[in-house]
Symmetry: C2
Subunit: 367 residues, 2 copies
């Protein structure tokens, strides 16, 4: 394994010249550069990352702190990760995924205080996330994916829930729906102040009121069963509902199963729009779900760019940005019954509950 010394010797220049060719930290004449490059190529030189890191106090490693529970990683998260990894790689950084959640503070401390990380991205951010404190204390630049309760002085990227909800409601209202129910996260989750639950609730209310409609929100546990229960409640509170907007991927499949069980076809009797969903998951349902596609990979790229700005400019100005989900109309939404543009009915629901179970298996976590 060739070192910089070897390259310098072969190119008949000093090591610093080789170093500067590599880092571009000072101008090098074309002739010299070519010599050096040739020598590097001949020796198949690759800089030693550890030595470089020690000397420059920069590991060129970014950490993606990613709690991993027994449910695995959803398509949305995966898209985020790959987007981030690609962006990091482009910038010459390595992105290491560390399965570190709010409960693994010691492991995080170890990683961070060993000066192994130039910066960190936090996923699954809690309202009061202790990982933020640890990293700040250790002086590690960070960017949140999501938002803590207090975001002053913190950079983050997150989904623009306001706009996402507004567009989803707009889609349904545009189709002619008037009685739209919003199935949110659980009551506990909302009570805890979980960001996405609160924000979508408020956004839904605003959007409905803006259209002169009455907003009805039903909380649901984050599971298919929760979705079922929510539907029962919804039908009781609003027997005339023609459309449902659902916040979480798990519940939406339960909703669909229960709708079929009640003999209501989708989208003929009831339109369903799923929020913050990945195309892959949306396609699993029958009919495929009209959904607000989550901007996973774009978010990942953006998060890395933001983080690198902090890393490079020694903690510059904070950057907080929201990205909306994009509406993608598939088969689960259409005009309400009795409307001009009414579409043909769905075929008979074979055995809906198994459908739902299958989908749940393939469905995973929220964005």
């Amino acid at each position: 394994m060739a070192t910089m010394q070897d390259v310098a010797r072969l190119a008949r220049v000093s090591v610093s010249t080789v170093s500067y060719v590599l880092t571009g930290a000072r101008p090098i004449s074309q002739a010299t550069r070519d010599k050096v490059l040739a020598a590097m190529a001949e020796l198949e030189y690759q800089p030693n990352a550890l030595a470089r890191g020690l000397a420059s106090r920069r590991s060129r490693i970014l950490g993606l702190l990613l709690p991993m529970d027994e449910r695995g990683l959803g398509a949305t998260e995966t898209a985020f990760v790959t987007g981030a990894a690609a962006a990091a790689s482009t910038a010459g950084y390595h992105l290491v995924l560390a399965p570190i959640g709010v409960g693994d503070l010691d492991e995080l401390r170890r990683l961070a205080s060993q000066r192994m990380l130039d910066g960190a991205l936090l996923m699954e951010v809690q309202l009061h996330d202790p990982r933020v404190d640890v990293l700040r204390e250790l002086g590690v630049p960070l960017v949140l994916i999501g938002r803590t309760a207090d975001t002053t002085g913190l950079s983050y990227v997150d989904i623009d829930f306001d706009r996402t909800v507004s567009e989803a409601v707009g889609h349904l209202v545009g189709l002619g729906h008037r009685r739209i129910v919003y199935v949110n996260h659980s009551a506990d989750t909302i009570a805890e102040g979980y960001g996405p639950a609160r924000r979508t609730r408020d956004a839904f209310t605003a959007a409905m009121v803006g259209h002169g409609l009455e907003p009805l929100m039903i909380p649901a546990e984050d599971s298919a069963a929760g979705g079922r229960a929510a539907l029962v409640t919804a039908l009781r509170q609003a027997p005339d509902l023609t459309a449902i907007l659902a916040m979480n991927e798990s519940a939406v499949f339960g909703l669909l199963g229960e709708l079929a069980g009640h003999g209501r076809s989708v989208p003929h009797d009831v339109s369903v729009v799923s929020m913050v969903t990945s195309p892959h998951v949306a396609e699993l349902a029958t009919p495929a779900l009209t959904a607000m596609n989550s901007p996973g990979s774009a978010l990942g790229r953006l998060a890395i760019e933001t983080l690198l700005r902090h890393v490079d400019s020694g903690d510059g100005e904070i950057h907080q940005q929201l990205l909306p989900c994009a509406l993608e109309v598939r088969g689960s939404s259409g005009p309400p019954r009795g409307t001009a543009g009414e579409i043909t009915q769905n075929q008979g629901p074979a055995v809906p509950d198994m459908e739902a179970a299958r989908r749940r298996a393939a469905t995973r976590r929220r964005a």
Copy 2:
């Protein structure tokens, strides 16, 4: 941030003594050790990973090469990852997950030739996996999760498909089933020579023949739709089937849905056993799936231990080990209809007890 110098000064010893206290590479008197430890505690000393790595030529970083496709990570893979991460952490190593598949050779080369990795674990191993060549060429110790076509000189850990299939078949035969269909991966996958598909195919044939039964295998695409199609084929080819053994988690849910659609109840009319399945997923079905629980976390731990043996003992002897999946009987298997031990029929068909399924899934954690 305190350095070793600071610790040495405070403890009134030399830096090398501090180093030896840390590494344990040579005996230190208890008195000295205590002084040093006290000083480290007082200064909250944490060794600089990069400096240590440069001096020792060991990064103490292990790479988990983990291709990430748009489908995300299943529960089985996640269990593997967390098991491996825990084992690495225990051994004082960091496990970095790199989203590197067979198509990301340049990124892998960059990572490996920069001496960043002391070793690597390869997931989703292909029969002819170019990542193996790259790592070998660069002298990076590796352990496969799975197997290439030629495993001479390669360490690996993998699922013991022979034994897993044999036990699954044994379970069904023991219940009295004679007509058992095996739903494998897709025909293409089998044709490509994908290890698990080939091995389970052969193991199934062997097991059935061993019981004096006729083996019938049906290929299925890795999706719910594939499972549905497979069931139709199976019922045509073997209308008298009483049990199904299914290889993949996606297809099995399609199978179940289609079975119900055909009015065949599980397990009364047809028993279903799912292979290489995580408990979490198995609990999602109704009835919960009798399954061969995959040893995800144990495999992860084992893989790390194997890799560390290579890393520590400068590439010692190779180690190839298989772990079987453990049979866990749940509700989807029982004696065939008309058998002495026939069990009572399932209740209400229309919308079976999804509530219960959810509760079980929520309350029960993996083994």
